[in-house]
Symmetry: C2
Subunit: 154 residues, 2 copies
DNA sequence: GCCATTCTGTCAATGCATTGACAGAGATCG
DNA sequence: CGATCTCTGTCAATGCATTGACAGAATGGC
């Protein structure tokens, strides 16, 4: 094996990012379609999923922490939270410890809907990961995490 | 090694898709930032990159083929093409073989800008892939391709 | 020639995502 | 107490992305 040329290195990276771009679009499109019955997008799915975690469910998360967790802007997150709050899936309550913060918490209705969404989500996962073994998926997640670190620094 | 439980399988998939979601957002944000000097987004970058390929550059691509290649909707692509056309980076010319089609082709200005963009793009690639070896990247691209097939079917 | 199909474009609605700027309320520190 | 910083929310602009619906022009089959 000889050293790859700069050109080959560039094209390899190009292929990688192009496929990432395609997968991201497909995730949004088909993920949202999978949750069509709930009128829920992948972004809302991510927000609810974050709030439904066992260690979070009871007390909720501050907006700041949710921003950091999802890595989206405050203005963007605010709009998504507004939509979910309007539907009564979550509520924003003042933090007793710090009056500036608001804790975002799933309502009972939100938890019920999240529970109901598990079946179509599992089906979506199964169909999407059809060509990937369990080991592939673990490796995949590791590579994504390394890429995330690099993208964060870039 | 025992068989993984359904719960573990679900959580592995969950982690995978969440990281994909994060990487996609970071790609858009930081990729666009890398091309800030050109006022070009990652989406426009993808379009120009498709049209700049050697086998395409001379004759251009039809809108239909570009849609299939990028896997985006006609209405979305149309707006992106409008912006690039306004900046005189590309042109839409009638296909001589089929009057319904229009061939989208880079202008000289578009090609010049694409050439100038190569350096910042290479720098972005290098920084983003800092934690990934060449072998990692090849493996990564393969996994993304398998996921794309699954997502397409889902 | 006529009809159906294809290719493209547009209009409208909705939602995601960024940035910059401004504001108010609460916390913190001197 | 007063200045500063933090957390949140909002307004505005821009761009990406989807869907559904309608329209016009060109092609192809019969």
């Amino acid at each position: 094996m000889s050293e790859p040329t700069d050109q080959a290195t560039f094209e390899r990276a190009n292929r990688l990012f192009f496929r990432l771009y395609q997968c991201a679009n497909l995730l949004h499109k088909n993920g949202t379609r999978a949750l069509d019955a709930f009128g829920t997008t992948t972004q809302q799915w991510a927000v609810i999923g974050a709030l439904a975690r066992p260690q979070v469910r009871a007390e909720g998360m501050t907006v700041k922490d949710l921003m950091a967790y999802l890595m989206v802007s405050r203005q963007n997150l605010s709009a998504v939270l507004d939509r979910l709050e309007t539907r009564d899936w979550l509520e924003r309550v003042r933090d007793v410890a710090d009056g500036r913060s608001r804790r975002v918490r799933l309502t009972e209705s939100g938890i019920a809907n999240w529970t109901a969404m598990q079946a179509p989500i599992a089906a979506f996962y199964a169909a999407s990961l059809n060509h990937l073994t369990g080991a592939d998926q673990s490796e995949f997640a590791t590579l994504l995490e390394r890429l995330r670190k690099g993208l964060d620094a870039a």
